[in-house]
Subunit: 448 residues, 2 copies
């Protein structure tokens, strides 16, 4: 039987970062990482294998970090955990003993209950090298592609495939807008317009009721009766937490069906931690259970879990998840953190909203200038920032992280109004109209 | 005699933002802004009039904000303030009565005491439309240009002029590195290399002792005896606060010779506020007086001053200045906030330094990927962030603002280690190596 101080199950970002952090925090302990696949892919890079990276091989997650830190890899499927023995068993019959265990088992694509979803050329987005190797040519060689689900993964697939200029692509989304859970509708429209410019068809407010064809898909049927010809379908309708191992081992699940964890990612067994998509998530502000599955959240959790296995030393300051993410659509960067205006109102928060429009160079006549649009949502009485959205050029990708830090530090509109920030003609808006500041001022003026 | 509730002296960023903020905070009050020049230029855009903007006219600060807010402009030079009468007199003999006054008189270029600095074709960087109109062709038509002073203005002028590919340009700097007051030397070297790639000559650790020529410059003499042929000289050796009006009116000056102001930009006269380059600045951490003259600091101050004229309502949260700024050198964005490793050590701070290297896309094989280098300086005992430096692609311009907010909110290494941030292949590093987080982890590992 193999014997390690620390065992990590899962080779995704949470597993890798959990293992490396655990080793750095406990230099004298042995660490091993168990994962099913010999080769790991970079989850966020998957949409870009068709054109921008031009192969699945260019999207491989390097093992250098594991190797450099002396973390042993075991390529095998973990099939059970024995909490009395403190062992993990694998499909090859091996047993691995642990003192402390991190479960970073990730998530699997959610397959919506649509008749015909099991037909040929119906793909889910799997973080699996071999699967992607076979999916890539099948999609490239298709003509009519229907993408079911207009969240950021569906949008990023559509954008990347559209760059090949050889497909007829349609996104079908139940909500009134693409990206509608993360952005207010005027922001969603900006992204939709960018996709339309590329020739992508968008069918929002509609549902696929059946996937048609014999063994292979030939069309999809919508709830309005219309049929869309289709020789390939991409299902991007969300993911579900991989909790089987944990459940079988008698660990508690949370309300959202993720593995129950406390503030420091400790499960109901004090020697077992869970991090990433498989662990339950809570909203930063409401503490309600929300199904957020993002690599950035996963790695933040893994850093906390990895540091706290033997002693709770890194006290969690950034409570819950702020569900912060960004995406890139045909030259438009979009970022969102925590609440939108519409999601805040839906939850009955008493809010004041600040808006601003600016450019990302100054003067705006400099070459390469993009427009920037920002919305900040503040609690009216408490004054603190509840959420933000940005749309703009490349730099908007880091602007959402300024907003994200401000949310995590519970910054008020008055603090943002008087923020000191670096500005430079080629890099930012002018200091007179720096849009995070002017959005805060807009909100402030409505509070007077 | 003209009569206004609020009078602002100065047409630069602090004056404009001070006036607009004052009006927004006091909608029933009349506001006027007195400035000498009919046309205002955008200070940060001045280096770019030679090639990128291709004219001085493209770098004019629009008056739209003043006009839209109903702020009256008086184009005249303010020559004195009578605090008993509460009036401002102008060079044309006009008197303007005020209830509340904001002095935003800015700064003038510092002319170092070098013999010959008064010769023809020796230019300072003046925020003056007519001056720039005459300087532009004179510099373009020169052959050998010497820039005295390698701070960010000297560097930006060199970079922009080098794009014209027709000059022999040399920067002469006393310190061992260009940008040496804002960056550690390994960061400075990155910028120096970028300038050298463009053919700019760099003479650091050397001083100009004389500017030679008859009426017009023909060469400069260095302290090592060498002479550099030169038919134009740019003096970019810093600025000095414009305090004459304030001094003559009996207002107190601070230790750094700027106008003394309290935390809310109130001068020693409670009805007079000062903001921007003319007002004294203090270090965020030490409260020592430091000569920081940046449009971003100026506008933050103007927002506080403008809000607080009649009642102290916006309590200053971001104490002192963090001297945050960014620059752009031939495709390299550089940002700095508060202390560097060397400046912190010089002031005897007990520090731990975290470093990281990453790329700004992921996987790094995506087209358009730039390297990113980050340094964070933490107080060893207190754990809080004292300063940061970034070098990278365009997005580094906003990354320094994440660091800047973290400094202003006194964030600890433990908080940054577990930061939740948005990551996206085209916009940021991977979540596993997001460089602000990994730099904090590097520091943290040295504290254990």
């Amino acid at each position: 039987m193999k014997d390690f101080n620390i065992v990590v199950i899962g080779g995704g970002p949470a597993g890798v970062i959990g293992a490396i952090t655990a080793k750095k925090a406990n230099k004298d302990k042995s660490v091993c990482l168990i994962r099913k696949d010999a080769i790991s892919v970079i989850p966020c890079g998957i949409p870009y294998i068709f054109n921008s990276l031009n192969s699945v091989e260019e999207n491989i997650m390097p093992d250098g970090g594991l190797d450099a830190n002396g973390i042993e890899k075991i390529i095998a499927e973990a099939t059970s955990i024995d909490r009395n023995e403190k062992t993990v068993s694998t499909a090859t019959g091996e047993k691995i003993r642990y003192e402390k265990l991190i479960i970073a088992a990730g998530s699997d694509p959610f397959v919506p209950p649509i008749p015909g979803a099991d037909k040929g050329n119906v793909f889910t987005i799997q973080k699996n090298f071999e699967y992607l190797k076979s999916m890539r040519p099948a999609l490239i060689d298709s003509k009519d592609i229907v993408i079911i689900g207009g969240g950021f993964i569906g949008v990023e697939f559509a954008e990347e495939l559209a760059k090949l200029k050889k497909h007829n692509i349609t996104i079908v989304e139940m909500l009134p807008n693409l990206l509608g859970t993360a952005f207010d509708s005027d922001f969603c429209t900006l992204a939709e317009d960018k996709l339309k410019e590329m020739g992508v068809n968008i069918s929002t407010g509609s549902k696929v009721t059946e996937i048609l064809g014999d063994s292979k898909v030939t069309a999809v049927k919508l709830d309005n009766g219309k049929e869309l010809r289709s020789d390939a379908v991409i299902l991007s309708a969300g993911s579900k937490a991989n909790t089987k191992l944990a459940e079988d081992a008698g660990l508690e699940l949370g309300r959202s069906k993720g593995i129950w964890v406390d503030e420091h990612l400790q499960t109901s067994d004090p020697d077992i931690f869970a991090a990433g998509d498989c662990a339950e998530k809570r909203c930063f502000f409401t503490r309600k259970h929300i199904p957020v599955m993002l690599a950035s959240t996963a790695t933040a959790e893994a850093r906390i879990a990895g540091s706290n296995l033997y002693k709770l030393q890194v006290i969690r300051e950034n409570k819950g998840t702020i569900a912060i993410f960004s995406t890139w659509v045909n030259g438009l960067a979009m970022g969102s953190a925590s609440m939108t205006e519409s999601s805040a109102r839906k939850q009955n928060f008493d809010i004041v909203v600040g808006n601003s429009n600016a450019v990302d160079h100054h003067p705006g006549k400099l070459p390469g200038t993009s427009k920037v649009k920002i919305r900040l949502v503040f609690s009216k009485y408490s004054g603190i920032l509840l959420g933000g959205q940005v749309a703009g050029g490349v730099s908007a990708g880091e602007m959402i992280n300024i907003i994200g830090l401000a949310i995590q530090k519970r910054v008020s509109f008055a603090e943002l109004e008087t923020l000191q920030m670096a500005t430079q003609p080629w890099l930012t808006a002018a200091p007179t109209i720096y849009p995070i500041v002017t959005a805060a001022q807009d909100a402030s003026s409505k509070m007077r």
